[in-house]
């Protein structure tokens, strides 16, 4: 059984077809890289997978369960987590509180309007542990406004990882990072246990390629090439998509 299986997924906005008949199957523990030029429909694909967008046709199957019509908020409870291209953290909170909010999303405690969130030791410890795993526990109490861009990128990823997802969708995790920051994120990604299946969109080939087992190349919303890293890199169509010849 695949971790994530997409069958014939399509989406149009008015007359514009952004996703056309996309099919792919990601195996448990796999590292899948999704590449393609700008406007290829990569983020749209992610939005379809997470349920933020409703597909016009096709199926999304998560560990054998058809989630095509499951609302987006429930997919997190089924083991799907994602990060965003533009950092979407909670700007008025500390780093630790950001992670706590991520943990709270899956907890029935989120409906509790009586207890003091600050007094929930269990949540705070789990959040600290999640930060320690990515080496950011030393700034746990810092307000988000006082952190660097690179630190925020890592917090993004930590937030998603804190929920112990089965499938992790990373949307351009290296965007806007300096060389040093990229190394930090790369280390983080390499350290993700194989229990977590990772699907990643990235432009930055020098860091991303090393992480990938399989690659899917999208162009104009269609799958052009798909296969192992070696296969896709060698395929002439890959060069054609990027260089035009």
């Amino acid at each position: 059984m695949s971790a994530l299986q997409i069958e014939g997924l399509s989406k149009s906005f008015g007359g514009l077809r952004v996703t056309t008949d996309v099919s792919l199957a990601v195996q448990p523990g796999e590292r899948r890289l999704i590449i393609g030029p700008n406007g290829a429909g990569k983020t749209t694909l992610f939005n379809l997978i997470t349920g933020e967008l409703r597909p016009d046709g096709g199926r999304i199957v998560l560990f054998g369960r058809d989630v095509t019509h499951v609302p987006a908020r429930r997919r997190a409870h089924l083991g799907m987590a994602r990060t965003y291209q533009i950092i979407t953290l909670f700007p008025r909170d500390t780093i630790l509180r950001n992670i706590i909010l991520a943990l709270l999303g899956l907890s029935p405690l989120r409906w509790n309007a009586f207890v003091d969130l600050g007094a929930q030791r269990d949540l705070a410890e789990r959040a600290s542990a999640a930060l320690a795993r990515i080496g950011l526990d030393h700034i746990a109490d810092r307000p988000l406004a006082q952190t660097s861009y690179g630190e925020r990128r890592r917090v993004e990823i930590a937030m998603a990882l804190a929920q112990n997802p089965k499938v992790l969708l990373l949307d351009e995790p290296f965007a806007g990072l300096s060389v040093d920051e990229r190394r930090d994120v790369q280390k983080l990604l390499l350290a993700i246990p194989r229990e977590v299946t990772v699907v990643m969109i990235e432009h930055n080939m020098d860091v991303a390629l090393d992480l990938a087992d399989h690659i899917t190349l999208l162009h104009f919303g269609k799958v052009i090439v798909q296969g192992t890293r070696a296969e896709v890199v060698a395929d002439p169509r890959t060069r054609e998509v990027y260089l035009g010849f």
Partner: protein
Amino acid sequence: MSVASPQRVGTAAAVLVLASLPVWVGNSYYVNIASQILLWAILALALNILVGYAGLTSLGHAGLFAMAGYTAAMLLGAGHNHLVSDVVAIVVTLATTAVFAVLALRATGIGFLMITLAIGQIQWGIAYRWVGLTNGDNGIVVSTRPAPLSISLAGAGAFYLATLIVFLTAVATMAVFARSPFGAALRGTRDQARRMTALGYNVWLIRFLAILFSGFWSGVAGLLFIYYNQFISPQVVSLTTSAEALLMVISGGSGTLMGPIVGAAIVVVMKNVASAYIERWNLVLGVIFILIISFMPEGLVPGSARLCRAAWRRLPWGQSPTIDDPAGSMRGGLTSRRMREHAP
């Protein structure tokens, strides 16, 4: 937090001062103003649940406030006792709030504002035109105040203390709410609704429940209002009233508990003072709105603090200029300027 922490001592002192107010303020006129401040502060706090914590600005809260008031007034006029009238009024207000929420949540931001404005106007239209039901412009008189535990609330002092008890209860529930996981989730939907959905939260339901909570206390404030004035008329349901409530929240500062309370005090005092000298309160209201929004959008409490800090820094013995902290509540969020400032 130790038993005698500064926060707790301060709160206890404040409560003592407030509770003893009728004693050290001799004149019942001022005691009545204090009662007004408290009851409007409850409405402002209720509105702030949405404006400050949920990030949803409503211009229709006068409708929820007045719903409770009118329902109770009509039931009292029909001969029912206070307890029944008040309970039914709150239930009816909650039902109305639920409908209000379902309609208003079809949108967020400006759309939400417009829908709440429209709903508020519908309620005003009913109050004003359905004379058979609401007595129209003539309003409804509420002949007696309730007498809980056989204590008469006819006097200014007694009514003030009853209002204070309700007010403190409201503040306590809101403080608990703000600190709770649900409160944090609500603020999360304000800051990153999309992310919240991806994290597993039911954003619509969270907002819906928050609106109900806000509607409840708006209704309670409405009940205090009719008992204070012993009268209700369509004027209460007007857009002006909703705007005044919003002004209280904005002027004091949304997103904190003290802000709406301070804002309510400012607006009530100004209204009472102004009406002695100026006939045109709306004009003053409008000017203040514009001034605050243009120059101190985060509210007087945070804004004054900011100006004080900035002024202090400019003095020769102040600190050297630091990176300014721009206005928080209304214009908050990660800005590219901040990101550049903190780049490694």
